[in-house]
Symmetry: C2
Subunit: 212 residues, 2 copies
């Protein structure tokens, strides 16, 4: 249906809305609803129906005019576009407050990600359990990442250690890195990296309340 | 310089890049650099110089052709656009792993936000200290929010309690809410709310590694 060429033209903003569509469609399906209009989807998401129709149209023809979207089909397709049906194995490195929060974040599970490993360097933290997964010594990272086929490494260590962890993840063969450390990582061009910055949301809010 | 009318046309994507500009400009200034080109800014940020020039042009005339941007002036202006010079008072409600991570997040301080209150309902957590701020009983939220002039409430409680906390924050007169609970809040139209969803970054990464 979609080709690499075609999807590469999709905007980051659209991609960012897809997980919201996916989660809402799953909730809608749990309610026993088979068909949903873009109006109703928009109401639930706080997004205009026009935006929803535009976003989904960039991937293919999912809805039926005057009827709406078939919930199961659309959910399946959006999940496929996001690659969630790959059920990627994820690992969190750095089990401080943030790492523990990420290890226990239920939405990851509900999106189809599998938490398979946790790492820390602190002997007091190694051996403890978060979300049914035991924290391992970060010195065993390379071996465990390979053994457990970790696809995505989530870096939640202090900035000073982040590059070293990223290097090890790259060497161990992960497909992507999700980085919470406030540094610009040096990784090979072939490595996908998403840098997360929690201060963006707060700054955006500051912008809005300044202008109210 | 900028009017409300004008800034209201600025895209969310541009607003989201401004905190990155602000932080990078501060780092650049700390290095003793007075003038910086959009090329060099772009290199440090991983953003194209064209995008940077376009973003900044939507607010006014900051650079000088063939010279670059005056770092101090641009930092001051970007901070002003984001409203960071208001030094908003922030409070975190719900001191689990995520709330504790947010309470200790150094970037908030470095952007000029003041952490003035923390709240939880758990007697074992109330009275503990995070980032030099004592955790208070959430039952005292309304009073303390008023006393300490909290501008922004950060909701990090479980979904089941989030709406109740939001209602209390609205009544107590905060200007904005930053919500980490995975629910669609009901708040008055006049209240600014930014919903944070940590699974968006991970889903985006899934999208990219699926297509590599």
């Amino acid at each position: 249906m979609t080709t690499t060429k075609r999807t590469s033209l999709i905007s980051k903003a659209t991609i960012d809305r897809l997980p919201l569509y996916f989660r809402t469609l799953r909730l809608v399906q749990d309610e026993g609803i088979d068909v949903i209009s873009s109006d109703e989807l928009g109401r639930r998401l706080g997004i205009t129906p026009e935006q929803i129709r535009k976003d989904l149209a960039s991937f293919g023809q999912f809805g039926k005019k005057g009827v709406g979207y078939y919930v199961n089909e659309l959910k399946h397709n959006v999940g496929g576009i996001l690659g969630l049906d790959n059920h990627w194995n994820i690992a969190v490195i750095g089990i401080g407050h943030l790492g523990a929060a990420l290890a226990n974040y239920q939405n990851f599970v509900s999106l189809g990600f599998n938490l398979v490993a946790l790492f820390d360097q602190d002997p007091k933290v190694i051996g403890t359990v978060q979300n049914h997964v035991k924290v391992e010594d970060v010195r065993e990272l390379a071996q465990i990442v390979r053994e457990r086929h970790v696809d995505i490494g989530i870096i939640a260590v202090p900035a000073a250690f982040a590059q070293e962890v990223a290097d090890q993840l790259v060497t161990a063969g992960v497909k992507g890195i999700w980085n919470f450390a406030p540094i610009k990582m040096q990784v090979p061009d072939s490595m996908h990296i998403v840098n997360e910055d929690l201060s963006i949301g707060l700054s955006r809010l500051s912008y809005y309340i300044t202008r109210r």
